[in-house]
Symmetry: C2
Subunit: 287 residues, 2 copies
Amino acid sequence: MGELYLVGMGPGDLPGLTLRAREALEKAGVVIGYSTYIKLLEEMGLLGGKEVVRKGMTEELDRAEEALERALAGQRVALVSGGDPGIYGMAAPVLELMEEQGFRRADGGMGLPGRFALGEKNLVLEVIPGVTAANAVASLLGSPLSHDTCLISLSDLLTPWPLIERRLHAAGMGDFVVVLYNPQSKRRDWQLRRSAEILLAFRPKETPAALVKSAYRKRQEVTLTTLEGLLSAEAGMLTTVVIGNQQSRFFEGTFLTPRGYGLKYHLETGEPLPGETPGLSLRRRDA
Amino acid sequence: MGELYLVGMGPGDLPGLTLRAREALEKAGVVIGYSTYIKLLEEMGLLGGKEVVRKGMTEELDRAEEALERALAGQRVALVSGGDPGIYGMAAPVLELMEEQGFRRADGGMGLPGRFALGEKNLVLEVIPGVTAANAVASLLGSPLSHDTCLISLSDLLTPWPLIERRLHAAGMGDFVVVLYNPQSKRRDWQLRRSAEILLAFRPKETPAALVKSAYRKRQEVTLTTLEGLLSAEAGMLTTVVIGNQQSRFFEGTFLTPRGYGLKYHLETGEPLPGETPGLSLRRRDA
C-alpha cells in the first residue's frame, strides 16, 4: 500500500530536522516539494537515489494532487513543507483535496496516521511535525513568544484582507504577541505597514519588534526594531516578523517577553511576594 | 568558557528530537530539567555519563538559577524544556533572571547565540528550538492549525485570570483557531469550561475541538469533540486542547481547518474560480 508522509523540514538546515522527518525522507521513494525546499534537501545530501518532483511556489494544489496520485499508485511519497506542514503548509491542501475527491476512511480510526481509500485504492497518510518559523525565529531573538501568541499570515492570496485586518485588531485587543508569516512580497508591499498601523492603536510605538530573514539558513539576518519601525521596514518572502506585547522589552540585545515570574516572586531571593503562594493562582489582578 | 543550551525536546520521544537538540545534549556535561523530562531523556539513552539535576514542576526559577551558576563556573549545561523553550518554557525565566542579576552583553552582538558576562565571569547562551505541543498535537489530528492561530495558556499561576479571559474574548472576535496549553490541573478545574463558555459566544457549539494527551508518548490519547463538548471534558496537565475556527470541520476522522484553496480554485479541476487569479490577492471579500 502507498504511503504519503507530509514532512516538516523545520527551518531548513540539517540540524533543524527531527529524526522522524529524516526517517520519513529515507523511507520515501519520491520526494515532492517547492523547488527552494528541494534544493535545501539536496544540499543536506538527503535525496540520493530518489525520484524528485519540484514544483513552483503557488502550485500547492498541484503538489498535493501529484502526491496523492503517486501514493494511491503504491509509492512511498514524502511531500515536504518548510517549518511545519500544519502551519500554512501542505497538510491543509492535501486534506482539502482528499475531501473534494471523495476519499473515505478505511481503518475505522480517528486522527492520523490513518488509512484512506479512493475507490479500490488505498494510502496511509501521516503528518510529521517540524519546528515552525515562529519557534525558529524566536530562538534567535531570545524569548519573544513566552506569553500568549498569535500567528497571522499577511498573505491575502487565499484570505480576504478584511478578515486579516479583523484578526490584527483582535490581536491588539488581546495584547497578544504577534508573529507575522508572509509579511511582504513584491506584489504585497503595503500589508506590513498597515498591520503596524493597526497594532499602534493598541500598544506603544516603542513596543519591541524584530524581523528575521532566512533563520538557520545562508544569509540569515536578525534585525531588532520597534512597532513604529515596522512602518518603514523592508521584509520579503523569507522574513518572519515578531511584535511584542505590552510587557515585552529588549534585554542586552535579546527580545524578552516575560512569563511573569516577577509578578509572583522576588527574583533576587526566589521568595514569593507578599500574598503570593507558589503553585496557587496569582493573587495580583493586574499585569 | 561555560555554555548554557536551552534545549527544546519536542513532544518527548527520540524521533521527535532535532539533530541540533541531540548535539547540544551530547556536548553538555550536566543536564538540568523537570523530573518528567529527565526521565524521558533517560529512556532515550541520552544521559549516559552526564551529571543530572532533577527539579520539581514549579521550580523554574530554581532550575534557571542553577543552570546559570554552573555555566558561569565553566560547565556546559543543557537546560531542557518539553516542546520549545520559547513557548511557556525555560527561555523566559532564564532571561528574566539574567536581567535581574545584572548580566551584560559581552560580545557586542544582537540576538542569540550570545556571550554574556556577570562580573568577571562569562557564559554563552543558546536557545535550541523544538516542536511545540501545538504542532505535535496538530499532526495527530490532521490539519487544525492551517489558518491563523492563537496559543493561550490557561494557567493563572503567573498570569491574572482577567487577562486570560480578555485574550479568549479577543481570540473569539478574531475567529482564530485556539490552542490551549495547561488547560486543567487538580487545582485549576473550571478554567477549561469557562474558556469554552467564552468562545461559545462567538462560534457555533458544533465547532470542532480536540483533546490530545501525551502526544507521541506512552498512553497517547486523541479525542475529537466539539466546542460544546469541552464544557464537560476532562483534561489534565499532559493535555493540549485545540478549538477550530468557523471554517473548521471534521473530515473522515481528521480535524481540518481549510487554508482557503476552495475560495479561489475549483478543487476538482484546479482552475481558478471566475474573477480569481493565481498569485494575486483574493477577489472574494467574504470567507
